[in-house]
């Protein structure tokens, strides 16, 4: 009998259809475990599987989707894991073997959430999957299928377990929602890249949606697939009709997608929830009329992935010059060294985010410090950064053990820095890189040190390539480092580096990388040399540069180089950066002092740390604090409110500006004359009794203060009596009430009644997520404001414009 790989070479392969929904139709009681039911009624299961064989399935799945320890624990059957898997596999084998069909051991999700995103330890997950895989493998299945995976990390662990436990081919199939993501936010290309690099024999999509949406997913990823693609769609999106979940797509409609899937490059097809032997029979009919699409070689590109994003590095057509941020490196940074020795990660995270903001594409992570446990630090860093940033990581360590532990944990496809021609490294590190499917930087040096000539470097690279090929590692997974040496020590080395890059790009067809700053070590005006060298290297096909993303001049050069080497079609990125900049604007470091900003700009930018100094300077130029307040600060905060209303500013910007304004006003107040400092009115704010939410109320208070009101905030869960007493005490003009729960809204009329009776001149306005204008009208409040800007406008209109306020609290301008 042909094995799975041989069967694939023969043509398109047909899987079976659904088991769960068909067992229900055959009488399985609601709530029963399909695994237990199958064991108790083997004749029902086997009859169904015979129907799939008769319909034309090449491969039957064992009914072991939920037969892992994690899921069986829900039924108190976890100790039966091995036994269940063995017996269920035997049932399927008994049907498949006489008919010459293959059997796939079905492995479903555990329902657990794994590190680094969840609390379940990595090795616990691997142990759970390993137990099931060993049982299925021992029973004699022909391949494994890890399916309906909603989390990339769980899928990785299952695949790792399978690879470590047996040598069967493994299909890994993910489930994506209608937006094309897994539940934990991974897109199809990222999943494909990670899992095919890790050694999956085929990659697929199943469940969740019908064939139409799956076709879209397949078309996205097909150009990058180096392994066969698998599709097992539901019979359409489920609908509830008369108390039953119905999968509406008929067998005819379902099968009509087959030619499109085949044309898109799918090699293995089947049906998931709602499909029946009839669906499979018609699929078989379609397949018989089709030839598989001629295999299209996958796009020649290096793909690096974080759990959330995939970065492409390609030569044809060339992708933009990629930037590997180098700042997470303790060399020369005593503060980072101290932090790492003490086990603190804060600075690492800050460096990661700053480099991301500055435009890095990849983050190099080097944590080697004497006196610290590098392995533990690297694991922690990988866990933290996988959550923190969507950028792929470059794991930088001279220790193969550190690299291995990080690769095992990282839920993406990392770049490893680096492999050399040294014997120990080749023997120890290369198998690790292969096992985890990592991409890696190759340095053209060996046990003899750094070669002086290009020919020596070429010989090392060729030796490394041969070793890689022997282990089944693709040249595309290598990134050759041009190995820049300092020009001051040996000027001829620059040319050797450039020749190495050209050779790697054109002859080895490998991606290339360069740490440009090495070239200028020991020379003055280092940035000048670095940028020049970058341009020269890019002309030789350089793909990636390792540098400080905060070097704005280098970033400018990177974009210029992309234009000149055809990597920025229509100069789009270049124009985005430089459009509007004065022609002679010099680029500098990101932390160079900015030109002096106006008070208005500082408020709009939320620069609360700069406002006091700016006010001081402004007063020195024009010693009229009232003018500053009325002509610059108040208009600025009003402009902020208007931008917020127009959705140009959002809540964080509004709050930042308001905090800046508050600090500025607090600084100015002692310098104002008494009457100039007079407030426009007093507003008492409170969250009503029983309610403990108050962040929105605080923002309202801040905005009112900034607009010249005295604000007394009574806090949370305040009863009616206290609100009225305090309003009386402070001679309030307005009381603002907030409630965020429907159950606490009912306190508002109580407050209103007391106010009307005891403080008839005081206005009462309402706010909070559950409150509406309609409700405010119903209880005869004086107004409702949906947000802090509307609250200011409402108070203004109640106290300073007279008459009933406009329905939505819109601010009246002075003319109306």
């Amino acid at each position: 009998m042909l094995n799975f790989q041989q069967r694939l070479q023969q043509g398109l392969v047909l899987l079976d259809g659904s088991t769960g929904t068909m067992l229900q139709k055959s009488g399985m009681p609601a709530g029963a475990s399909p695994e237990v039911y199958s064991l108790e009624h083997p004749e029902v299961l086997q009859e169904l599987q015979r129907q799939y064989v008769a319909a034309g399935s090449d491969i039957l799945y064992t009914p072991t989707f939920g037969a892992n320890r994690g899921k069986l624990k829900n039924f108190g059957l976890e100790d039966k894991t091995k036994d269940f898997n063995a017996r269920l596999a035997e049932l399927t084998l008994a049907v498949a073997r006489p008919a010459g069909r293959l059997v796939a051991g079905d492995v479903g999700p555990t329902g657990l959430f794994f590190a680094p995103f969840g609390e379940t330890a990595l090795e616990e997950g691997i142990a759970i999957f390993s137990e099931q895989v060993r049982a299925l493998s021992s029973a004699g299945v022909d391949l494994l299928v890890i399916e309906t995976q909603i989390d990339l990390q769980e899928a990785r662990l299952a695949l790792l377990a399978a690879k470590e436990a047996c040598s069967l081919p493994v299909i890994v199939s993910m489930t994506f929602d209608e937006h094309g993501q897994t539940l934990t936010g991974s897109d199809p290309l990222t999943c494909l890249n990670v899992l095919q690099s890790l050694g999956a024999a085929a990659f697929g999509v199943n469940c969740s949606t019908g064939p139409e949406l799956m076709l879209a997913r397949v078309r996205e990823i097909a150009p990058y697939a180096r392994i066969p693609l698998v599709v097992k769609a539901n019979a359409g999106l489920p609908q509830v009709v008369d108390g039953r979940t119905v999968f509406p797509m008929t067998a005819e409609a379902f099968s009509r997608f087959t030619p499109d899937f085949a044309a898109a490059g799918v090699r293995v097809l089947g049906g998931c929830c709602g499909t029946t032997p009839e669906h499979i029979r018609l699929l078989r009919g379609q397949l018989q009329r089709l030839q598989p699409a001629p295999p299209v070689p996958a796009k020649r590109a290096l793909l690096l992935s974080s759990p959330r994003r995939t970065l492409e590095i390609a030569a044809d057509p060339p992708t933009p010059l990629r930037l590997v941020g180098e700042r997470i490196n303790p060399t020369g940074k005593t503060d980072l060294q101290e932090d790492l020795r003490a086990g603190r990660m804060e600075r690492v995270k800050t460096l990661a985010l700053r480099q991301q903001e500055d435009g890095a594409d990849v983050l190099d992570v080097n944590l080697g410090v004497p006196g610290a446990d590098e392995r533990e630090l690297m694991q922690r860093a990988v866990a933290e950064l996988a959550l923190l940033t969507p950028l792929p990581l470059c794991l930088d360590s001279s220790s193969p053990e550190v690299i291995e532990s990080a690769l095992r944990l990282y839920p993406g496809r990392a770049l490893v820095n680096s492999l050399t021609g040294e014997r120990a490294k080749l023997e120890r590190l290369l198998p690790i890189l292969r096992a985890y499917g990592a991409a890696f930087i190759v340095l053209p040096l060996d046990d003899g040190g750094i070669p002086e000539t290009f020919e020596q470097r070429r010989a090392i690279l060729e030796r490394i390539r041969e070793r890689c090929t022997g282990l089944g590692i693709r040249p595309e997974d290598m990134v050759v480092d041009g190995l820049a040496l300092t020009a001051s020590a040996n000027p001829a080395q620059a040319a050797v580096t450039l020749e190495t890059l050209r050779y790697a790009a054109r002859e080895l067809k490998a991606a290339t990388v360069l740490g440009v700053s090495n070239i200028s070590f020991g020379l003055p005006a280092r940035p000048v040399l670095n940028r020049a060298f970058l341009a020269m290297a890019a002309a030789q096909g350089l793909n990636c540069v390792i540098a400080d993303p905060g070097d704005a001049g280098l970033q400018d050069m990177r974009l210029a180089v992309d234009v000149l080497t055809g990597r920025d079609p229509a100069s789009r990125a270049y124009l985005e950066r430089f459009a509007g900049r004065p022609p002679d604007a010099a680029a500098g470091r990101r932390d160079a002092p900015a030109a002096e900003a106006t008070l208005r700009e500082i408020v709009l930018q939320g620069g609360k740390d700069r406002i006091e100094a700016a006010l001081q300077q402004a007063l020195e130029r024009n010693p009229d604090p009232l003018a500053l307040l009325e002509q610059q600060l108040f208009p600025a905060i009003q402009e902020v409110g208007e931008k917020y209303q127009r959705r140009e500013f959002f809540l964080p910007q509004l709050v930042a500006a308001a905090e800046t304004m508050e600090r500025g006003v607090r600084w100015l107040s002692p310098r104002l004359s008494h009457d100039a400092g007079e407030r426009k009115g007093t507003v008492v704010l409170a969250t009503v009794l029983g309610d403990i939410h108050d962040i929105g109320k605080k923002i309202v208070g801040l905005m009112l203060k900034n607009n010249g009101y005295t604000v007394v905030d009574l806090g949370k869960s305040v009863d009616a009596e206290t609100i009225v007493e305090r309003a009386r005490e402070h001679q309030a003009d307005v009381i603002g009430l907030s409630a965020l729960m429907t159950t606490t809204m009912s306190e508002m009329p109580k407050v209103l009644q007391r106010v009307r009776r005891e403080l008839p001149r005081v206005k009462v306005i309402l706010g909070g997520a559950v409150v509406t204008q309609k409700y405010a009208d119903e209880i005869a409040a004086d107004g409702y404001a949906a947000d802090s800007v509307q609250a200011v406008a409402l108070v203004e209109s109640l106290l300073h414009a007279g008459g009933p306020h406009p329905r939505k609290g819109r601010r009246l301008d002075a003319a109306s």
Binding site: Q24, G111, I150, T245, I692, K698, S717
Partner: protein
């Protein structure tokens, strides 16, 4: 977890990408908060009986016409809850107390959406799980709405053993940290259809 709900809570329109909306400057802080906070999820299935407006969850009984109507036909319910860690909530309170409202607003949005995501995650898992055994989930419902009295929080509190996770229940049935959310998810049996 998806980021869009966080940005929407902060005012971004659904059709705008992060950078277009000018939220890029806050993205790194949001990412940091997402990475540094954790959410707790707990759930347990209970059989359900409905009679008129009376709801019986394995011996715990209460009245709610709204629950009875919405859950009609369900034979079981998932009692579920999600919350943030007390230290994460403490951090939020700290920002507010220090007057750093900007950080407070960002962290508040992250925590709120993370808790919602946790419940969505459980629901999604259950959807696949239940589907295999001829059952399906309905729409979840939290107490404090309609006549599903807030008082029933005491049932969730006890059943999910929330005290073990540092969550408290006030005498007005408010759970603290205030980001704690509980819900009942109805579970329906598929009508039998023997082919």
């Amino acid at each position: 977890m998806p980021r869009q709900p966080i940005y929407r809570r902060l005012g971004q329109r659904q059709t705008q990408a992060d950078h277009e909306a000018g939220m890029g400057a806050y993205a790194s802080r949001i990412e940091r908060f997402v990475a540094e906070t954790q959410v707790l999820m707990v759930y347990v299935e209970k059989s359900l009986r409905l009679q008129g407006a009376e709801v019986d969850l394995e011996g715990y009984r209460f009245s709610s016409r709204m629950v009875a109507e919405r859950f009609a036909g369900a034979g079981a319910a998932l009692v579920m809850g999600a919350s943030v860690r007390p230290e994460d909530f403490g951090r939020l309170r700290g920002f507010q107390d220090e007057g750093d409202l900007q950080q407070a607003v960002l962290l508040d949005a992250v925590l709120s959406e993370k808790v919602d995501f946790a419940l969505d995650f459980v629901e999604q898992e259950m959807r696949v799980e239940l589907g295999r055994s001829g059952r399906r989930p309905g729409r979840r419902l939290s107490c404090g709405y309609g006549d599903f009295a807030l008082e029933q929080q005491k049932y969730f509190y006890a059943t999910l053993e929330l005290a073990r996770h540092g969550i408290t229940l006030s005498d007005r049935f408010i759970l603290s940290p205030e980001k704690t959310v509980t819900a009942l998810l109805p579970i329906y049996q598929e009508k039998e259809d023997h082919a």
